[in-house]
Amino acid sequence: MPLLHRIARKDHRPIGFVLDGAPCEGREGDTLLTAILAQRERLRASDFSGEPRAGFCQMGACQDCWVALENGERLRACSTALVAGMRIVTGQRRAA
């Protein structure tokens, strides 16, 4: 069950992206956080114990929503707009 439920923009243009290797669709106007949590119930694993996290503040304060692209670039999901073709990986612990 996804964490977020759309009540607007349901029929906006679909934006394709790849989430942990699987093709997915977000909507035009989505942040990464929205695009991911409209499909899933977690965004990342916490740095030390690996417990599930899904952001908290959605305003760039808590830093609990960082995800990575396959190329290693790290992005704050709540303040990054979804771009078609993004290849996102979640669930990674902090690189040693």
Binding site: L3, I7, W66
Partner: protein, 461 residues
């Protein structure tokens, strides 16, 4: 005069916008930077794309103010420089490091207005890191700017005017609100009556919202304590009340917050002197009535200087700009400044009323269980903090950070700092004012390491 660098405004919320407008009106050309992609700040945040909802849908009774701010800021185009999606991450030697589009630039400024706003204040409770728990602000941003609900059955928990506002906004948007759990006793709400003569329309609006929530069948519980959020992989419910009289409710989303805390890191990096503010239970940068700090040329406006709300932020922004003009010996409207000061004083009185109607939970530090996660970045539990305090004889917050890692993580204590201070004060039997405040460090938010190194090298050259 054209030799002087431009004034710099951080934040394009209500405070930053009105500051920019006043500086432009006086013939200056400020640079306005904001992390967000569009102007408006927290309360008047804009969507990334239009979504068929009107500003009335988004901003409710404040739609006129929201539209006016967005419009007035747009009208300044060409007479100021505006860098959206730009993070100001350091201030040193009269220069600002600003990251935009993957690169960092150093900008010299002459006159600095910090209008950095606020975020939710949190006290950790069991289960608060579970997916599906968001701050009240986070729930509101999901709803307003992303058009999403954080659940199909949401509980709103905490204290402060935002608690009822956000619950009401969800109810109006057709989202099922399972309950509003207010940590303050019902009797505290009678204090609102004292606010009637000051701002009747605001008090009455609040009462109407509460009544409409009730009519819609939303359960309102007061004096809620001993709260536990239930679930393994995500939120599944919430429980509250002492053993024996425990209450439980299933839910799949929780919005939680205990009023707001000011975003003060940049004032710290700018070298401003801080003082303890008993009402906000936090150290805040010192400022005079117009927003002048202890540092010449550095001004504060809006919720970043102390929580006062959006209407105050607009006035404080304009007032800080007038102070900047006055200090530069430029013509400025002294009569207008007086009016603004008087209005801000009135809002300040009202803020006292709100504080008594939505009081801070008094017993959190006594009650928080050792297993409760205190710092969600570094994953430090309350018990570890207690042991660090006892074992190392710690009685100051930065020392606590050094020995326990609380507040050392990526959020720089934005989320756990208030709670860490409360717990340290309680454990050492000292006043909150006596345990100090977390020192801010650049970068104030995470930036790519390579950028920080580049900027460092540049500065060294």
């Amino acid at each position: 005069m054209s030799e002087r660098p431009q004034p710099l405004i951080v934040g394009a919320g209500p405070a930053g916008i009105r500051a920019a407008q006043a500086l432009v009106a006086a013939g200056l050309r400020p640079l306005v930077v904001d992390e967000a992609p569009a102007c408006g700040g927290q309360i008047y945040r804009q969507r990334l794309v239009p979504d068929g909802r009107s500003s009335r849908d988004l901003y409710g009774s404040e739609a006129v103010k929201a539209e006016a701010l967005h419009r007035d800021f747009a009208a300044l185009a060409g007479r100021l420089d505006y860098w959206p999606q730009s993070l100001l991450w350091n201030l040193r030697d009269g220069r600002a490091d600003i990251m935009a589009e993957g690169t960092s630039r150093q900008v010299a400024y002459d006159g600095l207005v910090l209008a950095t706003g606020a975020t939710d204040r949190i006290l950790p409770i069991p289960g608060w890191t579970l997916p599906g728990v968001f701050t009240l602000g986070g729930a509101q941003i999901a709803l307003k700017s992303q058009g999403c609900a954080i659940g199909n059955r949401i509980v709103f928990l905490g204290s402060g005017p935002l608690l009822y506002l956000v619950a009401w906004q969800h109810m109006k948007a057709g989202v099922a609100v399972a309950a509003v759990l207010d940590t303050a006793p019902f009797s505290a709400k009678f204090n609102l009556l004292r606010g009637l003569p000051l701002f009747p329309e605001i008090v009455l609006r609040g009462m109407r919202m509460t009544a409409e929530l009730r009519l819609a069948g939303v359960a309102l519980h007061y004096g809620v304590g001993d709260v536990r959020i239930l679930g393994e992989e995500r939120v599944e419910g919430i429980a509250w009340g002492a053993a024996g009289s425990e209450r439980r409710l299933p839910c799949d989303g929780i919005g939680y917050g205990l009023a707001l805390r000011s975003e003060t890191q940049l004032a710290d990096l700018a070298g401003c002197r801080f003082a303890f503010n008993a009402r906000d239970r936090a150290f805040l940068p010192e400022r005079d009535a117009a927003g002048r700090t202890s540092m010449p040329g550095v001004y504060l406006a809006g919720d970043g200087a102390g929580i006062a709300g959006a209407d105050a932020a607009e006035r404080a922004g304009e007032l800080a700009a007038l102070a900047l003009l006055e200090d530069r010996g430029l013509p400025h409207d002294a009569a207008r400044a007086q009016v603004l000061e008087a209005e801000l004083a009135r809002i300040g009185h009202f803020r006292e009323v709100l504080e008594s109607a939505f009081p801070f939970p008094p017993h959190w530090a006594t009650a928080v269980a050792d297993e409760t996660m205190l710092c969600r970045c570094e994953e430090v539990r309350a018990g570890e903090v207690r042991r660090a305090v006892a074992g190392f004889g710690v009685h100051e917050l930065n020392r606590l950070k050094a020995v326990s890692r609380v507040g050392m993580g990526r959020c720089q204590g934005r989320i756990c700092g208030a709670a860490a201070a409360e717990l340290l004060a309680h454990e050492t039997g000292r006043d909150l004012a006596a345990v100090g405040r977390l020192r801010s460090q650049a970068p104030v938010k995470p930036i790519p390491l390579t950028l920080a190194l580049d900027a460092h090298r540049e500065a060294a050259e």
